[in-house]
C-alpha cells in the first residue's frame, strides 16, 4: 500500500494523507447498531418508542397510494418487491438481514425518500423510532 515514489520530503505528510483516506472511508462506512440508532431517534423524539405504533404506521397508507408495506411487505421478515419496478428488496427487519440499520447515512437517505413517497413529508424522529422499535421486535 506504501507508494514507493514518495520522497522523504513528501513522506512527512504521509500520515496526514492516510488520515484523510481513512477519515473518508470511516464516513463512507460509519457503522452503528440498530439499537444505537433507535436510542438516537428516541432521544431526539424525547419519548420512548412504541413497536405497536410502529407497525400501524408501517402498514397505513396515510391517505396516499403506498404504505411502507407496499414495497417492504406487511411483515418485513421476508423480502419485498418495489411497488412500481418489481425489483426485489431484501428483508428490512435486522434479525433477518444484518446489514439493515447499520449505516446511519443510508438509513437517513431512505427514510427521507420513502417517507416523502408515502406521506409527502419527511418522517419525524418519533415515527422513525416507532418503526425501528417494531422492526427490532421481529424475531426468527
Amino acid at each position: 500500500m506504501q507508494p514507493k515514489h514518495l520522497t522523504t520530503h513528501q513522506f512527512k505528510y504521509l500520515p496526514r494523507a492516510l488520515l484523510v483516506a481513512s477519515a473518508c472511508l470511516a464516513v463512507a462506512a460509519h457503522a452503528a447498531t440498530p439499537q444505537e440508532l433507535l436510542a438516537t431517534y428516541s432521544g431526539q423524539a424525547q419519548a420512548p418508542a412504541s413497536p405497536s405504533r410502529g407497525q400501524q404506521f408501517f402498514t397505513n397508507t396515510h391517505g396516499g397510494e403506498w404504505s411502507c408495506a407496499s414495497c417492504h411487505g406487511a411483515v418485513p421478515t421476508k423480502g419485498g418487491k418495489h411497488a412500481s419496478t418489481g425489483k426485489a428488496i431484501t428483508p428490512l427487519a435486522p434479525a433477518f438481514n444484518p446489514e439493515r440499520f447499520t449505516d446511519p447515512a443510508k438509513v437517513e437517505k431512505w427514510f427521507r425518500r420513502n417517507c416523502k413517497d408515502v406521506l409527502t413529508r419527511e418522517c419525524t424522529a418519533a415515527e422513525k423510532a416507532d418503526v425501528l422499535a417494531w422492526l427490532l421486535s421481529l424475531k426468527p
Partner: protein, 167 residues
Amino acid sequence: MPNMPHLISRQAMRLLNLLGLLVGLGVATAAWADDDRQARQLPLLPAYQQECASCHIAYPPAFLPAESWRRLMRTLPTHFGSDASLDTETAAAVSDWLSSHAGTYKRVRETPPEDRITRSRWFIKKHDEVPAAAWARPAIKSAANCSACHPQAEKGDFNEHRIRIPR
C-alpha cells in the same frame, strides 16, 4: 510549501478512486454497439451502482443519450413518481460519468419521451414480439423491470438467447 498537504491529499484521493474502481470492476455492463450482440464490457462507477440500482437495475449508460441522463440527474427528487434525491456532489459525479458513457450510436442519439429507455424507438422495435398483456403480468410489472425477462440484465447482458418471459 503550503501546497504540499494539498498535493498529498490528492494522492490520497487517487488511492480512494483506485479503491472504488477495484470495487466497481466486479460489475460490468454492455454498451449498445452497432451490433446488439457485440456487448462491450464497461465497469460501472461505484457511485452509480450504489445510488441507481436499488429501485431497479443499473441501466446501461449507452441506452440513453447524454442529454437524457443529465436531465434525469437534475430532477431526482421527482423521479418517475419517486423521490430519488441525492446529495449534489454524488449527483454531479454520477451525471458526469453517465453522460460521458452515454449512447452515441444513431438509434440512441435522440432523446426518448420522458427520457425513458422503454419509450425509445429502438426499444419498442426490439420488443414488438412481446405480447402487450405480458408487460402487466405480476412477475414483470413494468417494461422497466428488464431483469424479469433478461436474467443477466444486472450484468449488462441482454442477449436474445437468454431471454425468458415469465408467465
